[in-house]
């Protein structure tokens, strides 16, 4: 029995040490990306190419999801608000939910599953097929040439994608509340305009998306670079990217929200 306990404790110890080591390794990797970003900034065409893959190709899924989320918000908002005779506030509700929370969070979650997983799989496969090793042997640093451009492309595209999500979502809410249900057009927009504050709502939303963009892309490139060079390794890394970045997004969202919106009425 004591032997079993000892093995159990040793197992926990191993896990803690491994996780700490990995966290340190990931932080070091993140610093290396920042240090080696010079190439990406000097040759911005490398980043633009990746912007197309991570940003432009994610537009459809982001827009369609935004539309549906906005439509659902319109429906649910109307259903709840009309009980209190406040159905004209549905525009406010849709806009605030999207700009403060759902836009950044859902767009980041979708971005993690669409672009984050693709980045991990691509870098992981480049490693498995020795492309990264080949680059090293050609005296080209893979972190500067492959990882950093993808990282910056993700960081840049995330706020735009979230903005797109919110805009299309507001339009979805408008479609359901005004066009379908018949809420007054003027009060929908004017109440929204009055209630949404640029500094508190929109800027805070943008800050959130920037933080999520850094987090998701950093996780994605790290998992890809760290993947074991086998089919199993790459698939495991892709899964870890989606799971880890989703949890990180939700955790960071709580932390950021608690700092940003405390004391707000």
């Amino acid at each position: 029995m004591p032997r079993r306990v000892a093995i159990g404790i040793r197992g926990i110890g191993h896990r803690v040490i491994d996780s700490t080591w990995r966290l340190g390794y990931a932080s070091r990797f993140f610093l290396l990306i920042l240090l080696k970003s010079g190439t990406s900034l000097r040759r911005f065409s490398l980043v633009i190419r990746e912007l197309y893959f991570t940003g432009v190709l994610s537009l459809i899924i982001i827009s369609v999801s935004g539309l549906f989320v906005g439509m659902v918000l319109g429906l649910q908002g109307y259903e709840t608000l009309q009980r209190f005779g406040a159905e004209s506030a549905v525009g406010t509700m849709v806009a605030l939910s999207l700009v403060r929370e759902l836009g950044p969070v859902v767009a980041a979650l979708l971005f993690a599953s669409r672009a984050g997983s693709a980045i991990t799989a691509e870098i992981g496969l480049m490693k498995a097929t020795e492309q990264l090793a080949a680059m090293e042997m050609m005296a080209v640093d893979p972190i500067a040439r492959v990882v950093a451009p993808r990282f910056w492309a993700g960081v840049i595209s995330m706020p735009f994608l979230a903005a797109m999500f919110s805009v299309v979502g507001v339009f979805g809410g408008y479609l359901v509340a005004v066009v379908l249900i018949g809420v007054d057009d003027g009060s929908f927009w004017s109440q929204m305009q009055n209630a949404v504050d640029f500094r508190y709502d929109i800027v805070n939303g943008i800050i959130k998306t920037c933080v999520f963009g850094v987090a998701v892309t950093a996780v994605a490139v790290f998992e890809g670079y760290d993947a074991s060079p086998t089919a199993e390794g790459v698939s495991g890394a892709t899964t870890r990217t989606v799971v880890t970045s989703s949890l990180v997004i939700l955790g960071l969202d709580f932390a950021l929200t608690s700092f940003m919106f405390r004391g707000m009425s």
Partner: protein
């Protein structure tokens, strides 16, 4: 010129943890020569290449390339040295998101400021050397295994290196592609006056093109010599390897305890 030493491996030892993989390796490689390193799977051949390329650090001993001790260089100096060497990976390791042209142009664009018109001329010349000028706008996915390796070869000679290392260049090729790659290795080595190190277990094909052979077995150099010496060698390991015999110094059976005791015959339980 022909006798100038390019690569010198001196009492090289390398271990993975406790397990020694290479022990006391000594080699000398001259310019303009094709050298084969042969040995069974897992004998440490590829590790040796990685040590020469500076991807890993030896436990003791050293590798000198062009007069510089590889593992003592800092990263910038190592990258400078690597501009003079190239490596051809087992399956080519072409960049799958770039066309054949861009793959060959990769190193030229990364390391030089040549105008695009000159890059184009250089790339087409390198592709012409491997017979694939007409395939310059294809993507790697559209190439056969042999073609991919020829493109990788064109890519590795892009900056006219002093040294090219080939990691199993003949694996998985049909007989025609095999001869093509073999002859290319020889011709390019002669034309560019470089040194080629070919890690392979394809005995017959490589004996046709190489100048010198090292056999590695169990982490030590078991034998070395010119192709003629190797063919006529009576050393048991070389004989077994060159003629592909099933049993010999390299045994068919993985080490195990006695068969009878494993089947529990002597206890009378079977």
């Amino acid at each position: 010129m022909a006798s100038e030493t390019l690569v010198e491996v001196n009492d090289l030892n390398f271990s993975y943890g406790e397990r020694p993989l290479l022990r006391g390796i000594n080699m000398t490689m001259h310019r303009g020569k094709v050298i084969a390193i042969m040995g069974g799977s897992g004998s440490g051949k590829t590790t040796l290449l990685r040590l020469i390329g500076g991807a890993i650090v030896p436990t003791s001993g050293h590798v000198k390339v062009a007069g510089e001790v590889v593992h003592k260089l800092n990263r910038d100096d190592l990258f400078q040295l690597r501009r003079k060497m190239s490596m051809l990976f087992q399956f080519g390791a072409l960049f799958t998101d770039l066309s054949v042209f861009d793959n060959v142009a990769f190193q030229i664009r990364e390391h030089t400021d040549l105008p695009e018109s000159m890059v184009r001329d250089l790339v087409l010349m390198k592709l012409q050397a491997v017979g694939l000028r007409g395939a310059h706008d294809l993507m790697p996915a559209q190439l056969s295994g042999g073609m991919a390796r020829r493109v990788a070869l064109a890519r590795s000679i892009a900056l006219d290196p002093l040294l090219i290392m080939y990691d199993e260049p003949f694996t998985g090729l049909d007989p025609i592609s095999l001869t093509v790659i073999g002859n290319l290795v020889r011709r390019l080595t002669d034309a560019l006056g470089m040194t080629s190190i070919v890690v392979t277990h394809d005995v017959q094909e490589s004996l046709k093109i190489v100048d010198y052979v090292y056999f590695i077995s169990d982490g030590v150099i078991a034998a070395h010599g010119t192709p003629d010496e190797v063919r006529e060698s009576v050393a048991p390991f070389v004989h077994q390897f060159v003629h592909g015999e099933e049993d010999g110094p390299v045994t068919f059976h993985y080490p195990a305890k006695a068969y009878a005791s494993d089947l529990k015959l002597e206890t009378g339980l079977a």
